[in-house]
């Protein structure tokens, strides 16, 4: 059953990656690779989280997979890494936590007269903010890491004639 869960997770992450990517007008040839990367990254996070690893660390590993994957696949479609990995990262943005930030802010303001409730929503606001910001930062930073390690390759992904380079 666990494998089915992973596959379902990967499938929906792929659909989400394609859809959110489509808003930003990616090249059509990049769509299959965006889907693949989104699925791999999200499934990786899903696996790690079901083994009890926290969402920030799991997102970091997901981001690393997407980053290295985009370096590897970018050469095939002559796309810069960011064109592949930004849409692939979008399904990993922790929307539920972001929603709870807004929710707890409203409830905090609505419960100003009630100290217990107020403190509870105050705590909820900060814990959700911390998770959201950390996850987004780690996602982007870890996916960018391969650029620093393999600079030469990362900078010439869109170059078409590498023959001239070797000649």
């Amino acid at each position: 059953m666990f494998i089915t869960d992973i596959l379902i997770d990967a499938f929906f992450a792929a659909v989400a990656g394609i859809g959110f990517g489509a808003i930003s007008d990616p090249p059509l040839k990049a769509f299959p690779y965006i889907a693949l990367l989104a699925a791999a990254g999200h499934a990786c996070r899903f696996c790690l989280m079901s083994y009890g690893i926290d969402i920030a660390t799991a997102s970091m590993f997901g981001g690393l997979i997407i980053g290295f994957g985009s370096l590897w696949l970018g050469k095939r479609v002559h796309c810069p890494m960011t064109v592949l990995y930004i849409p692939a990262l979008l399904p990993m943005i922790p929307g539920k936590f972001a929603y709870r930030i807004v929710f707890s802010l409203i409830m905090f303001l609505q419960n100003m007269d009630n100290p217990t409730e107020r403190t509870r929503y105050f705590e909820m606001f900060f814990s959700n903010s911390i998770v959201t910001l950390t996850v987004i930062f780690l996602l982007a930073a870890s996916a960018t890491l391969p650029i620093f390690i393999f600079q030469k390759r990362a900078f010439s992904l869109t170059r078409h004639n590498n023959k001239q380079l070797s000649a």
Partner: protein
Amino acid sequence: MRRDESLQSIAKFIAEYAAHMMGCGVHTSRVVRSAKRIGDAYETDVNISVFQRNIILTLKENNSDKIHSEVVDIPALPISFEHNAELSALSWNIYDNNLSLADAWKLYNKIVNAPSIDSLFVLILVGFANASFCKLFGGDWFSMTIVFSATITGMFLKQQMQRKHFNHYIIFIVCAFIASLCASTAYLFDTTSEIALATSVLYLVPGVPLINGVIDIVEGYTLTGFARLVNALMLVLCIAIGLSLTLVLVKDNLIIN
């Protein structure tokens, strides 16, 4: 390699190229690198300062002391990865194939004026994407259909308002409000309504500037990185305002977990 193009005309091309790239959501280091690469191809040395709204660049001829400076405004363009990929490839093309400036302009205009993806197609894809997002957060099939229809409504509204050139803060507030209001119908039924409400506005999240901002900061372009993050956070704030209007309307039904 250098042809008889004047320093001024080269500067004009590079300025236009760099401004378009910054405008359509390319992270700063790539813009600077690509611009320098084009400058290299024309045997000039390019130095660039990038700000949020303007680019200042100075070209210096390699074997003389001629210098030309150019300041250009960054246009507010919709984000386009297609332009990102194609324009990056164009810089290598110029560098590798010794293109003349006239050819470079021709290719540039062809890329910039190419039609983008059909908006109806985008609308449907975004609907499915947000519905799958709902599933990823643990929503059931019924919530997914609600989120799908809410997203289609909101996204359609966004496209129409963008076509009429409304202020984008207004667009985000209105679209977040309408989409979450549609999704709040989930409270009428026995379903995962909190997740439906939470995911209904997520298609608006400006993920590209958020991630670009972090990339810029990590790569040392702190100024543009922060500017992008602040812009993105303003939009997130607008989404929060739209969503809170709905939350205040339906707050008696909210389930606290």
